[in-house]
Symmetry: C2
Amino acid sequence: MRAYPRSLARLIEELEKLPGVGPKTAQRLALHLLHASAEDAAALAEAIQDVKQSIRECPVCFNYTDADLCPVCSDPHRDEATLCVVGEARDLLAMERAGGLRGRYHVLGGLLSPMDGIGPESLRISELLARVREGKIREVVLATNPTVEGDATAMYLAAQLRPLGVRVTRIALGLPVGGDLDYADDVTIARALEGRTEM
Amino acid sequence: MRAYPRSLARLIEELEKLPGVGPKTAQRLALHLLHASAEDAAALAEAIQDVKQSIRECPVCFNYTDADLCPVCSDPHRDEATLCVVGEARDLLAMERAGGLRGRYHVLGGLLSPMDGIGPESLRISELLARVREGKIREVVLATNPTVEGDATAMYLAAQLRPLGVRVTRIALGLPVGGDLDYADDVTIARALEGRTEM
């Protein structure tokens, strides 16, 4: 692309490395940044570097943090008795967006997947069991994804957690709100039927 | 969103300012950058600031440049006799991607739009006429967008350019390649019929 100045071509190239950003989107973003105020462009550039430098794992729940403890673990108003287990930190963020849980979290750092060589020792399961053994937690909500790996992980964890005397629950599977029976897959409909509740 | 560390929330906020990037995409991009290599993240941050600092307008054609002249104007292998007129520098980049023209360009910096107060004096028309008066140019290709504003601009420029003794042409209007008659709008079909060529 001879018509691009070198620095513009380089920015487009870097933007194309982002997920879901193809050549056309990369060019549109690059031209937007070129015409954005110097403050906005600098703010984005600094935010990128700041995130890389400041974000690490919370030592308690393995959520993202830029302080000693993550925002959830350092929040004194959280319910100490409820612990929600998720696969990845982004799942924790999704749960928080939904705002349904006022407890604490534990991020496993993945899901069991023997085919990919991910066994229990690759995940933060011993850390989870240690937290539960401390005795404050009364319910563990298994909120791993409703996939083969997420279900297998939930079943494995349930077997490990039950002997510790805590209530173990799994998030409900069923039709998404606003969904359409006609478009739902058979497995989802079957799970929605299985999980039916009294009205 | 209490669960986000401050620096991550700030990056998401900055990314949301980009065109076509909503909260979910911004979060996905932010988490991607968080997990990207330090080199990739630094390269993107530097590319953003570099573009803001180095890119300016080419003094001849008003394309983007980070040198004295833009890559097209400084290319000695371009046809001096053909000048392609476009509205914005991004249109120039689109023409170059298509690769059909080996001439030079002139970026107007917009299109005539009396409703928005954009008259001939707001565009780089006097600069265009001055280039043509130098005498090397034999054909001016009007490649402004096929919109009301682009057509009006092309008609205005044609009237200004014809007295200077150059050939004035307009890019063809018709069905897009791979398009479908059934999905094309009536105006496009009418223009495609008007512009029909011998086979």
